[in-house]
Structures are given as structure tokens and as C-alpha cells.
Subunit: 233 residues, 4 copies
DNA sequence: CATGAATGAGTATTCATTCAT
DNA sequence: GATGAATGAATACTCATTCAT
């Protein structure tokens, strides 16, 4: 079951360059795009592996096969690069989650199941996302506009999960539901955090462990159910 | 409420130096120990607050009230200090978990409950532990001796949890149990990861959220139970 | 009020391109000239405002409305631009001073008065000139041709002033006159140096302080006179 | 006629280290002082020659014969070095001028004469002072405390000169006097600016030109006198 | 044992300049 | 002629670490 997320954001952005099969971009522009792409790819890779702080601009440049100064042609500074990296994937994730959450043909537990998978895959595909999403690295995160992308989606996701859980468990908003969605988030974070740092490919991880992930959330849902029953008796 | 862990390991370690009331250490040695102690205490405090990377040797020295060069008398480098710092707490944690796991008067679910709490508190009290324990920071981790301490205890903990879960769920070793203990670990990691980076004090977090943490593991155990029942029917 | 200097040298230089009403320059050449002009204008503006060092090539390009690489088509490097900028104004200043000095209808003190004003205005209008004129910025000044323009005019100006002072004071060439013209130069430099770095506009400065400037030189001349009288008594 | 200023501020500061002929400083401290001194000397030399902005920390380090990082042991940053350089000499100058201005045995024109010479020598001995004193290089100058040293003394000097001129010319405070003291300052600045950038030694300059400097101010004073007489007639 | 002095390698960032088109 | 892409050298500043005492 594909998650349907276009994780490689370039496949999308490059789209406008092709009009009726005719490539309107000059060679220059194309090379420029390639360079930018390679910088993004390099940064993505390194941020994921080592974390934002410890990666140096020069490392990124080396990995991208360009001079470190070139990076500054495309991105104002290191932080801008981080946010350029994260904004689009996050928006895509959000869109995808929104679409999922309003799907009329799916039950709420099916929705949760897919949401889990989507989110896990997303984090494994964009491993630098983990620190951005969960660890809110830099000061800017709490001060400027880019933060919004992250915070907005984080809260949005909490909201969606909370709503789906409420529907599934058939409980109204309140402390009980808040607690459940918090726990649900712990699990997501625990899973993603565990594998985000491994060298294993996303595909391999999913192939090997998606039943475990599935079981994890199933257990949680069953557990929540049981807790509610016990409380009501 | 038995966290039972003596986090200040010096209170313990200094003990052996007194044998039958006779102080075997010279004054010099004592002062030396004090210096080492103050360095460790300072590093512990700062690493916990700011994280390993951002703390500087000079900061530690200042906090410890000695020259930065003195630190190199006792520890080969900054990383060695980190590991010196972590080894003992980890051993204490291990000991404590071991004692817990063999306690004849506790049920396995009570043991799990206490283990959760112990571990969470431990990580919140030693926040630099999180990255050491879960993220295996530096290359050294995979190369030198200190790694052992961490890996040993990590595996050991898996083992204990696995055993306790097996007893509690009444299932033999095997894939099912492995999956359950993995999931259990995800939850631990998710919780610890979430709060390890916050500014809130361990006490405050525990006061505010320990019921949630408790509910999380309870839900899991209930869920595991249900999954087993369903599978057997 | 005859400052009489055409600071915009392009109004003059473009003149020669029209011979007998026939435009000998092609459209291309014309556009090229325009670009060059806009670069010079931009550089002039920015150097005057911010000083040579802090202005960047890209700033100039932006101000000139062209690419930064274009600048290198017209000028070998940033310094060459500075000298290209300064040579012509300096020549104009020289010409203007020459014309003034040979004017048959003006008394020598009137000539000095106008010369002061011309020179002060010139420096305030071309503030980057100050450092070029008085401080002989770069090594190149002592190595290449452009220096000549500056040194030549500097000496020329000394010469003119010396001559005018000699006439005015009615003394022959010699140490006394040299000393007087040096002192005269100190005053010029002191005035120009004081205001060349201020943000105030040339017009505003002149409006506010030209009586002071006038008084300064008047005092000097009166003082020189008195000194000579005293010496002769 | 010695100006009485201890331009080498080290001769003063080192004073306290000798108590009754016994050198209380350890070798370490001594070497430290030497290093600091060499850094100051190097910075002084280079700032004077090239100006603050264009001198690099590494240049200073090279000139001082130490690593560039050593500079940061003694001075917080480049700017701190500039101010460390300037504060003491400025204070000494101020003290010296104050003492001069209250001297009961000197006439006001004699005071002015000595003040000129003192100030000129001071600027020639501390050539980086010129830009600090007259050009107020960095932003900090207008924002933070160090500025005070410079502004305070600048204004103080204006004040002293104004007062002495008022006494000498026998005119009350007012526009006339303001104009005169401004002009007086132009001359000071012109002289100092002219020779501050030359390679010639202060001694040589003074030997060669102090009569000219003297003549310059004498001419000004005579001129001011004459202007006042003319105005009163 | 302890320390102040000193340093080399490294950080993000900027800028004048060149190259390929 | 004109330009966007790319770069090497340089900038101030930091930090873990070593050396001499």
C-alpha cells in the first residue's frame, strides 16, 4: 500500500519546467537546478545522519560536489538551508494527512493505521525531519516564520490524531483523550527515533518491521479500549 | 515510591575508601578525589542542561572551580569525561534493575511498572544519558571499551523487559515476545525523548505526567494481552 | 557663486562623440557607453556615501542595474574603477583651478577664496576623493600610472597656492612661502577631513559653514601678513 | 621642551610590579605581560599604518609573533583591542592637558602653544589615535561606554581650547569664539592628518616642522586678533 | 597536582573575481 | 556585450587540547 507521498519534492517542482514535452529551461538553469538539488540532497543526507549542528557547510559542499561558497548562492545561510529542506516535505505531509483524514470511505482505525505508516515512512524518507519535527533545533524555530510550518503541522497532526482517536474510541474531547493522543505520539516518536538514525534503508525497515509497528498501534488501541471499559464498569 | 537509584554515585563510590574507620587515603589523594568529583559534578550538570556538544571544557572547569587544564589530568578528553560520567550511572541503573527483576515479592507487572518509572526518572535526571543511551553519539561508541557499558546495559535491559513481559503475558521466548519488547522499548524511548529536551525539571514532569506514562504502559500490556487472546481464539 | 565644476564628467566626455552633428557611434556602442556610465555613476554615489572599502562590486552592479560581471568588462578590477572615477574629476578640478589662477580680472586673494571654495566643494561632492587625494590609499598609487594624476594635481595645487600666496603676500619663493603654503594646505585638509566623513550633504555643510571656512583662510592670510610685518620690523 | 607625556603606557602600568626593587611577578606573568605588550605594540603599529578596518587579527598576531588565538586570550575582540589601545593614552593626554590648562605661571598663548605641541606629538606617537580621535571608526564608538573616553576627551579639548582662545583674544563665549576654536581644530586636524600617515618618525617630523606648526597657530592667532580689531572698528 | 599561556584546526560567512555560455 | 554560476582566499572568532612551569 503506497503512502502516496511524493517525498522527492523535486519531482514536483521540476514539473513546471516541462510544458507539453518541451523543455523550456536553458542549460544554465538546468545546471543551476541540479546544483541546488545536489546541495539539498547532501544537506538532507548529512543533517539526517549527524544532526544539524554538527554538519558543516563545507561538509555539505563536499558531499554536494561544489564549493562551500556556492551554497550561499542558493541559501542565505545554514539555517535557511534547513528550512528550505523541511518546508516542502512538511507541507506535502500535511496535505496528505488532511486528505486521509477526510476520506469518507475509511474507518477511523484504518485512517489511523495509514496515518501511522505515512508518518513513519515520511520520517524515514526525510530523516533530517526527525530532529526538525521533534527536536525543534534552532532558536529561529521559536521566533520566526519558518517555525510556523513546523509548529502548525505538529499541532495539526496532534489534532488529527486526537480526532481520529476520539471517533475510534467513541469518547469526547477531554483529559482522557488528550492522554491517549499523547501516548500515541510517544509511540510514533519512539519508533521514528529508533530507526531514523540507523543506516538501514526505509524500504528495508518497513519490510522488516511494519508488522511490528502495526502491532504497536493495535496494542495501544486495544489497550485504550480496555482501559475505557474498565473505567466504565 | 521507589526509584531507589542513588544518582549521586559519589556517595557510594567514596565508601570503599574507608576501611574500619581508618582513612587510607592521604590528604593529597583526598583533595584530588574532590577535584575529580567536582569536575564530574559540573560536567553532569552542564551536559544534562545543555547537551554534550554545546558545553565547553572551560565551562565545566569554571563550574568545577578549577582550571580547564586540570580536567585533562583526570580525563583523556571531553568524550572520555562523557563516558566516565555515564558508565557509573548506567551500572547503578543496571544493578537497580537487576535487583528489581529478581525481587520475589513483586508481581511481574509491578516490576515492569517500577522499571518504567526508574528508567524514565533516570533519563530525566541524567539528560545527557538519553543521547548516550539511545543515540550512541560518537564513533568511539562503536570502537572502544566504553561502548560496552552502554550496549551491555541496553541489551540487558531488553533482556529483563523481555523476560518480565514473557512472564506477565505467559508466552515463551520467540518472535511474538521480541515484537512486544521492541514495542515496549519504543514507548520508553518516545516518552524519554519527548521530555529529555524540555527545560522542565524531572520532578515537575513526573508529577504532571507519571499517570500518563503509567497509562501508556498499561494500555500496551492490556493490548498485548488482547492480541494474544485474539490470536488464540 | 562659482564652483564652476562640472562634476558629472560625462556631460563633457560624451561631447566628442558627436562630430558635426553626425553620430559616429553605433547603437551598440551607445548602449555600452550608457552601461559604463551607469556603473561609474553608481560607483561614484556609493563610494562617496560609504567609502571605497565597504562598497561591494555587487552593490555597485545593483545600483547600476547590471550584473556584477559586467563591471569587469569595463574595469579591470575594483581599484581600476576607483581610479577611473577619480582621474577625470581630478582633471576637471585641475583645469578649473588653472583657469581660475590665470584669470586677469581677479585679485589674488579673491582667487584664493574661490579656490578654497572650489576645492572644498569638490571634496564634499566626491567624498571618496578625500582618501584618494590626501591619503593615497593603495599600493597601486605608488606603482602605476593613476598615481600620477593624483600626485601631479596635488603638486600643481601646491604650486598654484604657493604662487597666489606669493603674489598676495608679496614675497618671493623660498622657505617662508613654502611654510605658508604648507600651512594653507593643512587648513584645507583639516576642513575637508572634518566634513568628508559626515552624513550631512555638501550643500548643507556649505550653507552652514562657508563663513567659517572663509574666516579660517582670512585669518591665515591676515596672520601671514602680520608675521611678515613683524619680521621686517 | 618635553611634552611630559608618558606615551609608552607600559612604563606606567608596569610600575606597580616593582615593590621596593623586588620583582614580585613570576616569570609566567612577565611573559604574559610581554605577550600582551607585543600584541598592543603590533596592533598600534598596524592600526596606525593601515587603519583599523583593513588590519586583520592574523596580521597583528604575525607582527606580534604569536598565534592569532592568543590575541583572544588578552582581548575580547578586535574592537576591544582598539579601545584597550586608545583608552590609556587618551586619559594620559587628558590629564596632561588639564594640568597645562590650570598652570598659573603660563600665559594663555603659551598654554595654547604647548597644547598644540603636546597634541601633535601625542598623535604622532600614537598614530592609530588619529583615526580613533578624529574618525570615530566603529559603530561602538557611538553606542557603548568606550566611546565616552574618546568623546569626553574630544569635547574636553574643544572646551579647553575654546577657553584659552577666549582668554587670549579677550572675547566672551559665543559664535565668534566657537568659530575660532573650530578653525583652530581644523588646523590641528590638518597637521596631524598630514603626518600621521607618513613613515617619518615623530621626532624627525617635529624637528623638521615644529617651527612650521608653530607658525601656523601663530598666524591663526594673529589673524583672529586682526579680524576682531577690524570688526570693532 | 595544578595551571596560565599558547596554539592549530575549524566555524559560518563574505567578496572580488573568473568561467562558460 | 552581457550574465548567472561558481570559486578561492580571506574574515573574525571558538574550542579542545598541549606545553612549560
Amino acid at each position: 500500500m503506497p503512502t502516496g507521498l511524493a517525498y522527492n519534492h523535486w519531482s514536483l517542482t521540476s514539473g513546471y519546467m516541462l510544458v507539453g514535452g518541451i523543455n523550456l529551461t536553458s542549460k544554465k538553469e538546468q545546471r543551476s537546478e541540479e546544483t541546488k538539488h545536489s546541495i539539498i540532497a547532501a544537506a538532507e543526507k548529512l543533517f539526517s545522519k549527524q544532526g544539524y549542528e554538527t554538519v558543516t557547510i563545507r561538509q555539505i559542499a563536499k558531499e554536494a560536489g561544489c564549493s562551500h561558497t556556492t551554497i550561499y548562492i542558493y541559501f542565505q545561510d545554514k539555517e535557511a538551508l534547513l528550512y528550505a529542506l523541511s518546508t516542502q516535505p512538511l507541507e506535502l505531509l500535511k496535505t496528505s494527512m488532511d486528505m486521509l483524514s477526510v476520506d469518507a470511505f475509511l474507518s477511523s482505525d484504518e485512517k489511523l493505521r495509514r496515518l501511522n505508516e505515512q508518518f513513519i515512512r515520511f520520517c524515514l524518507d526525510n530523516r533530517s525531519m526527525y530532529s526538525i519535527f521533534f527536536e525543534a533545533k534552532s532558536a529561529r524555530v521559536d521566533e520566526f516564520e519558518p517555525e510556523l510550518a513546523i509548529n502548525r503541522i505538529r499541532q495539526h497532526m496532534h489534532h488529527i490524531i486526537s480526532r481520529l482517536l476520539g471517533t475510534y474510541l467513541n469518547v469526547p474531547d477531554g483529559d482522557g483523550l488528550l492522554s491517549c493522543s499523547r501516548i500515541y505520539f510517544y509511540m510514533l516518536r519512539g519508533i521514528v527515533g529508533t530507526y531514523t538514525q540507523s543506516e538501514e534503508s526505509a524500504d528495508s525497515i518497513m519490510a522488516r518491521l511494519s508488522p511490528t509497528f502495526h502491532a504497536a498501534f493495535e496494542a495501544l488501541l486495544l489497550g485504550f479500549d480496555k482501559q475505557l471499559q474498565d473505567r466504565n464498569e
